[in-house]
């Protein structure tokens, strides 16, 4: 799936949050969306899926206009948004969460079903009857990914997937991202700390105050002291892939 965002302007009330953002994600590509606190990463993802209505600009997937469509259309078209934080249906069991997700996009078919998700996350199978609200942060992350995958999406919008995760879980998350990208899922990855994004994506956008400040390879972002400081990464320390520093 190819995503094209063109000159999107979004507002919360009177505040002009996204001031003309353009971005593309090619089929099978993992693209980083970087930016500090409040830069507008989440707002951009919400604008893409229609949770925020852009006042101007357009969002297209595979050349088909998505701007202004109700949010459920994005998911049914194969665009899965995974919001940040502990977002699962907390009163439902793990198995019920997966079933609700599957039924939400009844016409999307593919290789992903509950069995395959339990294969990828054996932990979830053991916990399938547990109420999702009682899962640990890492387990909820698995369920969040499972809920998305069961709809057989073609693109994931991952908002701060590493937030609040233990380092070991972040490493695992990295492996899942690599695996999904090998299966030619496209991924847009929003991160505050560029370490995770750098390890798993090739190309990135740097968002600053609702505008794209830079677009290019992760190396370019990493090698530029100016961009690094814009991201709040210390200028001299050797970058290491791994858990977020902030």
């Amino acid at each position: 799936m190819r995503l094209e965002v063109r000159d999107v302007h979004s507002y919360y009330g009177a505040s002009h949050i996204l001031q003309g953002v353009s971005l593309t994600v090619e089929p099978g590509e993992v693209v980083a969306l970087l930016g500090r606190n409040g830069a507008g990463k989440t707002t951009l993802m919400r604008s893409i899926v229609g949770l925020v209505r852009p006042r101007a600009g357009s969002v297209q997937i595979d050349g088909v206009e998505l701007t202004g469509a109700p949010t459920y259309r994005a998911a049914r078209a194969g665009l899965a948004f995974l919001p940040s934080g502990r977002r699962v249906f907390s009163s439902l069991s793990v198995a019920e969460n997966l079933e609700v997700a599957r039924r939400s996009c009844p016409r999307r078919t593919g290789s992903w079903n509950a069995e395959r998700i339990y294969g990828l996350f054996p932990k979830l199978e053991q916990l399938s009857r547990r109420t999702a609200g009682y899962l640990s942060g890492g387990e909820q992350q698995m369920l969040k990914i499972g809920r998305a995958l069961i709809t057989n999406p073609e693109m994931l919008l991952l908002d701060e997937p590493t937030e609040g995760l233990a380092p070991a879980v972040v490493d695992e998350l990295g492996e899942w991202v690599e695996m999904l990208s090998r299966e030619s899922l496209s991924i847009l990855l929003a991160e505050q700390s560029a370490t995770f994004a750098r390890a798993h994506s090739t190309r990135g956008y740097l968002l600053e105050k609702g505008r794209i400040r830079f677009e290019g390879s992760m190396e370019r972002i990493w090698d530029s002291p100016e961009l690094r400081s814009a991201l709040g990464i210390a200028a001299r320390t050797a970058p290491e892939a791994g858990p977020a520093a902030s």
Binding site: Y72, F89, T151
Partner: protein, 289 residues
Amino acid sequence: MARFLTETIGTLSDAGSLFVVAAGLTLVFGAMRVINLAHGTFYMYGAFVVTTVAGTASGLRFWVAVVVAALVVAVLGAIVQLGVVRFVVGKEPLTQLVATFAVLYILADVALHLWGSGARSVSAPLGVSGTFTLAGAYLPVYDLVIIGTAVLVGLVLWLLLSHTSLGWMIRAAVDDPELLQSGGVNLRRLHLAVFATGALLAALAGAIVTPQISVAPGMDQSIIVSSLLVVVIGGLGSVVGTAFAALIIGIADTVGTLVDPTWASTFMYFAVILVLVVRPWGLFGTPER
């Protein structure tokens, strides 16, 4: 003993109809985060439609009237949802209250035109009218119909919410509507179904109690007050809580009436205050996150 039985059956019957109304209110609140002040209107319309359809005949036609009332009012609910409530979902509570209060008033006027201001009554159909004796007490057979209806509604709702994927979807809407929507669910369609179901439950309760009450304007406002009390002490959005709360309100009302009829409603509010002091979020609700 006879007295105790009479009061118990009477209380259960009152609590039963209150539960059916309040279950609809709590379902709508849970899944849509809308407090629908016009919910009592659906109860009143259910009762009025029965008086029209059943007429004075008291046979099979009564049961047909109950079903017709529930369905007609479900459609009315759908119209109210599409015409008004849809626009206030997600808005500030005050906006929702004003909008649904307006619906209450408008539909009350419409009812006045359709059915007049006088009281109307329906007699219990043959077979479930009259009394039966148990341990020396004379008990109205029709109370059992109401209790049975309430138990049935409770069971169906429980089965729906805990064992069907539609029910899981409704609970998911309670948990996190935005997540449900971004997962591919047409939330508006789900809201329409939930709101119509809520109206149907209110109408069913209004229809089923007609043989025991006089059907008249004002029913809409008195029932909305007691069902709001039930929903608040049960915990907004919880069906199990609603069942317990309806019982508590029913018992408080009965005990109050026994002690001193002029203080009955004071007893009811006292029960509410007592519950809310101990658990401000209601018996089965969850503290606001």
